[in-house]
Amino acid sequence: MAVKARKPGFSPRLVRVLGQVLGFAALCLGAFLFLFPFYYMVVGALQERPDPSIAGAFPGPDELSLVNFQQINERVPLLQALLNSLIYTGGVILGTLTIGILAGYALSRLRWRGRELVFNIVLLTLIVPFQLLMIPMYVMVVRTWGLGDTYLGMILPFLVNSTAVFVFRQFFLQIPEEMLDAARIDGAGELRILTQIVLPLSRPAILTAGLITFIGPWNEFLWPFLVTKQQELQPLAVALANYISTVAASTANPFGAILAGAVVLAIPAVALFVIFQRYFVQSETSAGLKE
């Protein structure tokens, strides 16, 4: 605030305050629109019977029950499935970040013939729908390589994550060239520049890419399901999708079952986000931005 006082003139204080109030109001409205369906989902998961009325959206505590969750707990080996999800998702994130950082750096800060071509190919890979590739890929992974019922078979196809490459490329492009040139003049190799100069500056990009990558394997059920038929290897999403498909076919409240399954799947993801989200904004940078 003291900083502002030093700069009189063109933008009066009122405009700033007004802007902040408006921004805050927009955020509140947005948050309501974003949270309400989610709230509705939790309420739906806690109700024995769905109730579409307006009053039904605000049930009293006596109208809530944990029945849907108890049923999941009885049918799904939650701990084992969670462990599988962690291995699967963790493997994908590690691999994707490694490959993505290297590729993003090569595509943004290194000069080599064919760079533009490869960057266009990165775009191309985003364009191809997975459903088009699924069965040939499946035959290759399971039959040719014999990776059915393994974590590796689940992980490998997810490592070509062009979005991550894209995120790193766009981020690295913004790092001032002089910093890199200085290191190059000092004789540092590219790998050293990448790990010691670029990466420490790239924490937001790494976190962004990590979170984006996380969601794919965490919620994916079709591919790991195709690859693994053994229950002991199935990630949480697959176990819950199986549960939902059974329950939806044979219960009076498929809605509650689906929502409860989704809540169970969402909790670890939300928790992770809450833990990591404060690293998105480096405090010293945000101090400079007042609006």
């Binding site: 063109f10 955020l27 290194l110 775009l123 929502l259 809540v263 969402a266 904004v281």
Partner: protein, 291 residues
């Protein structure tokens, strides 16, 4: 440090990505392209089956005669027209607001991110429940509710799908923008303040240009993700209803290729779609990066 070493490093850094790309995209894609020239279907290893070469027949039938395919293209155009501008504008506004020092920032960030981490099947169940004819939305709207209701209304159904996808993925684009905002040097803002620039002036002349690389990314990504729309019509409007008005090209490809085992034709759909999206993305990139 010679230019030669740098070039060599470029190839080395891109190699892992290209390897995976070759195995998991190029090979299955090449296979799909090849399939599209045949009356192809998947068969057991060793099975003696006849899969005649049909040249461009699949493409001819698809592009010239297939009314359903034409409908899917129109549908996806509506989707993109709603989804992409809305996504871009809302993501910039929310990211800028979130980047400021406001009370409850953690809370807001988390709430915008929630839909993105939550499994599609649950999101879709909730939206379906909110938007069905006797659902909460119509009860709140009363006489203002459209007739027929949203999801069976030939005009509204696709718009609701587009809003759902915007809502679900917005958190992800906000993340991309947040990461980009971190990279706008705060000196620029300070200099502008010294020159007496107001809130809006700074937003227009510093923030928006600073976000251009991210905007290119967001526009292209959301177009591509939109063009590959699959899960939402598959589940929310139950296979593309009403009367195929929400049928997307990828869902149609899935019906042809997986449900109806007409893999050659499905591959032709996928390849045609990919070429179309590639063209659009190239145009977008050209338009946004030059200017």
């Amino acid at each position: 440090m010679s230019a030669g070493t740098v070039r060599y490093a470029g190839y080395l850094f891109i190699l892992p990505y290209l390897t995976f790309l070759g195995l998991f995209i190029a090979y299955p894609l090449g296979f799909a392209v090849w399939m599209s020239f045949y009356d192809y279907f998947f068969a057991a290893p060793g099975a003696v089956v006849e899969r005649p070469f049909v040249g461009l027949e699949n493409y001819r039938a698809l592009i010239l005669e297939d009314g359903i395919f034409h409908t899917t293209l129109g549908n996806i155009a509506v989707f993109i027209a709603v989804n992409v501008p809305l996504t871009t504008v809302l993501a910039i506004v929310l990211a800028t607001a979130l980047n400021a020092r406001l009370p409850g920032r953690t809370f807001f960030r988390t709430s915008y991110y929630l839909p993105y981490v939550t499994a599609s099947v649950a999101i879709i169940a909730v939206w379906g429940y909110l938007f069905f004819s006797d659902g909460l939305v119509n009860r709140v709207l009363g006489d203002l509710a459209p007739e027929p209701s949203w999801l069976v209304n030939r005009t509204w159904a696709m718009i609701v799908v587009a809003l759902l996808v915007t809502w679900k993925n917005l958190g992800y684009y906000v993340l991309l923008y947040l990461a980009a905002l971190q990279n706008i040097p705060r000196q620029l803002y300070e200099a502008a303040e010294v020159d007496g620039a107001g809130v809006l002036a700074k937003f227009r002349h510093i923030t928006i240009p600073g976000l251009r690389p991210a905007t290119v990314l967001v526009v292209i990504l959301s177009t591509i993700i939109g063009a590959n729309l699959f899960t939402e019509p598959y589940l929310l409007t139950n296979g593309g209803g009403p009367e195929n008005q929400t049928l997307s090209p990828v869902l149609y490809m899935y019906q042809k290729g997986i449900e109806q085992a007409d893999a050659g034709y499905a591959a032709a759909i996928g390849v045609t779609l990919s070429i179309g999206v590639l063209t659009i993305a190239a145009v977008q990139r050209f338009a946004l990066e030059r200017d």
